[in-house]
């Protein structure tokens, strides 16, 4: 338990003026309404959106299956005073988040419209195109600190490739985002063309938790409670890490950088130890793997830090960070969601200045080439 948590800080105890400019790998912008997309969405699909709406691989249309305790899963202080939903007002985002926390770069992660889970693949692709254009027009071009990702649904691989080519020509996007819960585990060969193109373009693959992909969110079935379901973010990413590694994605695409976003990192050491142990015993089943799973993880994968684990003993968090590897961690805040991590206080364990610099800035700058 750190000193910070035990009592309020006095002014003279607040962090020193030597503040670190940070890279925030998870900032959520929101549409004010779907009308914001009209200028980027062909009439044919505007009409479809109005007349038919979304048809998702998700039960319970227009909501997530679990009410999220805070309205729109947002911080209660993140509703813009001008109206609109959290994350929809750039000026307020600047004032509340980007400026006071000295965010040098913020990577946009769009969750609106469940765009990865659209069953109508052409409609999904049209929405993804519109969202990709909207990120630049509404966010990156108005605040160059905010970096856009190319969102594609990997279940329409040809459509995804076409969108990657279109956006790559524009050249302002810093990664390719795919769903963490697609029709099949992410290591499957049907998705490889996306990985191949990402590697050729030297664009990292970003995978942010969320959505349902048509499957129960845990390996055990449908949870009863939100607090229970929330655990599944980590399970899902653990499953996808194993799928990607064991199907041979980093072996086949060794230059591909894969960033898991909001899946936590406390579970990684055990998952990797277990993969290595079983690999020793069953390597004849997967002879396409030339190296231990842990080696692929240490070279090809990065993990964002939020929601950070908060063990009772600060040294346990410290041990986790060392086991995962300081070089693998990228700071993320998840602004404006309720489980936001404040870069000043989230790490309740001592870090050296050099370590802080890696986690809060230089690791991400290297991955994304800022």
């Amino acid at each position: 338990m750190s000193e910070v948590i035990d009592r309020p800080l006095r002014d003279d105890e607040k962090p020193a003026a030597s503040r670190l400019r940070i890279v925030d790998c998870d900032v959520h912008p929101s549409l004010r309404s779907t009308d914001d997309l009209n200028e980027f969405l062909p009439k044919r699909w505007q009409q479809h959106l109005k007349e038919y709406g979304s048809h998702l691989r998700t039960p319970y249309l227009f909501t997530t299956p679990y009410p999220r305790s805070s309205p729109l899963i947002a911080r209660r202080d993140a509703w813009p005073p001008t109206g609109g939903v959290p994350g929809s007002d750039l000026a307020f985002m600047q004032k509340q988040h980007l400026d006071p926390l000295d965010v040098e770069f913020g990577i946009l992660q769009v969750l609106d419209l469940f765009i990865f889970s659209q069953q109508n693949l052409e409609f999904g692709a049209a929405i993804q195109r519109a969202i990709n254009d909207w990120q630049l027009a509404f966010w990156s071009h108005r605040d160059p600190r905010l970096k856009a990702s190319i969102l594609v649904g990997q279940d329409g691989v040809d459509l995804a490739i076409a969108e990657i080519e279109r956006c790559a020509k524009v050249g302002e996007y810093i990664q390719i985002n795919v769903s963490p819960r697609a029709n099949e585990p992410l290591g499957r060969r049907r998705y490889w063309p996306i990985y191949e193109r990402a590697q050729e373009l030297d664009l990292p693959l970003g995978i942010h938790v969320g959505g349902y992909g048509g499957h129960a969110p845990t390996g055990g079935g449908w949870p009863s409670y939100y607090v229970e379901e929330h655990q599944s973010n980590a399970h899902t990413i653990a499953a996808q890490l194993a799928s990607l590694v064991i199907e041979g994605v980093p072996e086949r695409f060794p230059k591909l950088k894969i960033v898991f976003i909001e899946g936590g990192f406390g579970w990684i050491p055990s998952a990797v130890w277990r993969m290595d142990q079983h690999f020793e015993r069953f390597r004849s089943e997967v002879p396409h793997l030339k190296r231990k799973p842990s080696e692929y993880v240490r070279e090809s994968f990065w993990f964002t830090t939020q929601p950070i684990d908060e063990p009772d003993e600060a040294r346990h968090l410290r041990a986790l960070i060392e086991w995962v590897g300081i070089d693998r961690l990228l700071f993320s805040s998840d602004y404006p969601h309720w489980d936001f991590d404040d870069p000043r206080y989230a790490f309740k364990t001592p870090l050296t200045e050099a370590e802080r610099k890696k986690i809060f800035s230089t690791n991400a700058r290297a991955v994304y080439k800022f």
Binding site: I5, L9, D77, W338
Partner: protein
């Protein structure tokens, strides 16, 4: 400890709050069920502004299927991570031995009593017919 007049009692509606600056501290004064409580306006976990907290009830359950609500409106739920605190003393419901919001004594006094002093409210007009919330810091 100095006594500060921070508001007229009518100024903070039931369920509402007012943020005041006292000697450089942001302090939030809540009005709940006719009582006033003053706490540092900063969650001890990650620093969220408590003026945006939800005022909730204490919800307990001795066994599955049996639920009890008590002290309606007296528990603060932090606007970020949902940590709950007792408004009366700032104590954390989750980890009461180690986590606490700093709280300050509050009194309600009538304007004509306040004329006797001592108090700190150089810029606050006091009328004898009103009552006021006093915070001791």
């Amino acid at each position: 400890m100095a006594r500060h007049i921070v508001a007229r009692t009518t100024e903070i509606p039931p369920g509402g709050n007012k943020v005041v600056d006292i000697e450089g501290r942001g302090i939030v004064v809540f009005h709940v069920n006719g009582e006033f409580f003053a706490l540092l306006n900063r969650c001890p976990h990650e620093g969220a502004p408590l003026e945006k907290a939800a005022c909730v009830a204490r919800l307990t359950s001795p066994e599955p299927g049996v639920y009890q609500r008590s002290r309606v409106g007296e528990m603060l739920r932090c606007p970020w991570h949902g940590w709950e605190f007792d408004m009366r003393n700032g104590q954390s419901w989750f980890d009461p031995n180690r986590v606490k919001i700093r709280s300050y004594p509050v009194a309600v006094e009538r304007g004509d009593d306040l004329r006797k002093g001592p108090y700190v409210a150089e810029t606050f007009p006091v009328h004898i017919e009103d009552s006021y919330v006093i915070v001791e810091v």
